[in-house]
């Protein structure tokens, strides 16, 4: 991951292109490239970086002149806050809609839910974000347009980020519930005279949650990725925006550190999801 991002970034240009002033001479540009070690072969540059990174030293940002890790640590809480709230919204809104759509399959409610899922997945996040700003921030004046600070500042970016996930989770939950509801043990439960509420919530839902939990684990990675756009639109001070700026500035150490840390978070979450399988399904044993 780190190697690929390094190569892609390296091929797209040189940080000195951004750092130098327009009035610099060719000699001054060459001197800066030498001072920054950018005149070395790129494999040597990567080897030097990787050698430091395995010891926990991600290097110093070329633009900020501060340790890359510190810059990420400053902004990580904002991104996690946004992604976690979006994840929470995507679960609590998708769960009832998905379950009801499955239980009332073919009804007007089901059709409405699926239209929402289709539209929610089709809407580009940048367009949705701007629409939410215009409606709730400008026309109605109910919510702040940009920035971070209060609970209200979180509402629009979290909703923009969550919409795609809500739509996708709704479809997954509906589909998973439909599969489970066809099983014989559901028929048996109904034959035993259990109420529909108990059949759906205690017998069907738990089993239907296994694919959903898998999706939710992956979803968090998607939310971290989506934060890049949402943070830019809403001027949210997170690592997504930091990464965008770092890519534009060809700030190699900062991009590398951001990619590595984001990948670590993603892998850790998937590990946690794997652990959760055993909780949801007793047939799955870790040993």
């Amino acid at each position: 991951m780190s190697f690929i991002s390094f190569v892609v970034l390296f091929l797209s240009g040189d940080p000195t292109d951004i750092l130098v002033g327009e009035d610099w001479t060719r000699e001054e540009v060459q001197r800066l490239r030498h001072d920054m070690g950018l005149d070395k072969p790129w494999l040597v540059q990567y080897a030097l970086y990787a050698g430091r990174a395995v010891r926990g030293d991600f290097g110093e940002s070329l633009r900020y002149r501060r340790p890359a890790f510190d810059l990420i640590a400053e902004r990580l809480p904002a991104t996690l806050e946004l992604a976690l709230v979006a994840l929470f919204l995507s679960i609590i809104l998708a769960l009832p809609v998905g379950v009801l759509s499955a239980v009332k399959r073919g009804s007007l409610y089901d059709q409405g839910g699926m239209v929402f899922a289709l539209v929610g997945q089709a809407m580009p996040v940048f367009w949705l974000g701007l629409m939410l700003i215009l409606i709730f921030g400008v026309d109605l004046g109910w919510l702040p347009v940009s920035g971070r600070g209060t609970l209200a500042h979180l509402a629009l970016p979290a909703l923009s980020l969550a919409t795609y996930s809500i739509a996708r989770n709704t479809r997954v939950i509906r589909s998973s519930m439909l599969d489970v509801l066809k099983n014989e043990y559901i028929t048996t439960a109904r034959a035993k005279g259990l109420s529909e509420w108990i059949v759906v919530h205690l017998h069907a839902l738990r089993n239907a949650m296994i694919p959903v939990v898998t999706i939710i684990g992956l979803e968090f990675g998607h939310l971290l990725g989506g934060a890049v756009i949402v943070e830019t639109i809403f001027a949210w001070p997170g690592i997504g925006r930091l990464m965008i700026q770092a890519v534009y500035a060809k700030d190699f150490p900062l991009v590398q550190a951001s990619v590595t840390i984001t990948a670590l978070i993603f892998v850790s979450l998937n590990f946690i999801v794997d652990m959760l399988y055993s909780v949801l399904d007793p047939r799955v044993r870790l040993n």
Binding site: D23, R26, L151, A152, A155, L242, I244, Y248
Partner: protein
Amino acid sequence: MSRRRTFAALTALWAALSLTGCGKSGANRPLTILVSVEANTLDPHFATSTIEWTILMNVQEPLVARADDMRGVPALAERWEVDASQKVWTFHLRKGVKFTNGEPLDARAVRYTFERMRDKKLRTRITVPGRIALERVEEVDAHTVRLHTRTPIAIVPVWLVNAFILPPKYYAATPLKEVLSKPVGTGPYKVAEWVKDGHIRMEANGEWWKGRPKIPAVVWRPVPEASARLAELEAGGADLVTNITSDQANLIARQKKGFKIFSVQGGRRVYIGIRTDWRVFGDVRVRRALNHAVNFELIAKKFLVGHGTRMASVVLPPNANPDVKPYAYDPAKAKALLAEAGLKDADGDGVLEANGQPLRLKLDVPSARYLQGMEISEAVAADLRAVGIHVEVQPLEWSVFLSNRRKKILSPLYLHGFSSAFNEETDLGVLRPSLFANLTAWNHPLFVASYRDLRTAFGAEARKKLSYDLQALIRDEAPWIFLWNQYDFFAGSARVEWKPRADERIFVPAIQMKEAKPAT
């Protein structure tokens, strides 16, 4: 019961959200300025971008400042003179000035500042010592300091505009990591808080030697999306919005919601570079033809909402030679010049040929970099096609464009812009062959010799003559297709009155705010 509880909870949540979002548009809100990018550093020796210089000029001051009309004016130096050798500049410092941490402004502070710029361990990015060929700094007495240069440099004061003077004790004793975000100076404001990617909050410096600033507090917020910046203004969360397009400015002006549009002809000279080392572009008649082929008046009318006039040469007013006139749109003359240069359309396909090869070439355009850059370039390409030169516009990402510029592999024509230091010498300097960003390969012996003379000419009249002659030469030699000095557009709330500067910087004391009272 359960439904009622749910409804009550949702209502309470909505009320909480609404209340926490309120209050930002109140009259007591600090002056809020939305900018498009975040400052990376607030250390003047590492600053490189306009936003960084903008923030810093409100906190720190140089010996010589640039006034709103772009003239050099005394700041921390009351006056200065150069000796007969033209290599020793004496600056007389203003007395009684203090940095906001209590340190006095004196010759020691000036010496420390210039020595820090040259500190090899720090690896600073500031180019001032190099530009003025600084040899050493001499403390004459507490309030007199001399800059010794290795060679005579006539525009030393011009280069000092970004040399903000620092308090030596604070900068020497504080770790670099800290001073990068907590600048201290003598300027009208102090940085009270910097939340990275969030905002920079400034408070008025009550001890400022020019008197208390009228606006007590200022907040600078980076909002990358132009639409979001304007939405914030409409929602009442901002007073001044930077970096908007002419289209957006037009739209706001038409809305009549009480918002103001401020515009200024900026210092950025936007042009199309002609690579004179490419085939026929070495022939001056062809370059002149390219200039005559472009209908800039129509471009300005169609894409620039009537703003802007065509540049005649490379020097900005008031240093521009009034006798040098822009190229007139004259396609017939363009065709005649091309014919005179031996270009013919032998096969009748509408494209001229040189040595049997059709004149088909690309015009590289950095996307989303210059105001209406793509639209202007497409119009220029159409004008050139009309006289028989087949030009295809090639949009490039800014980073790719920069990389190609460094590698000198841009197409024979390329859209580019140079900012200005508002001085004839620096304006003319963009055509120096040694400049890495100049890909024209235009290397005229008269230009090189006269420019060298200009650098060491100290008399105003001698400088004027050299500059005027060079401007005329450049106009005739046409290494560029001359376009325009880009306008900068800003949007403001009803409570703000302001006249923007041509250097894209915002000096807060120049802003009038309706309810602003002097800071206490």
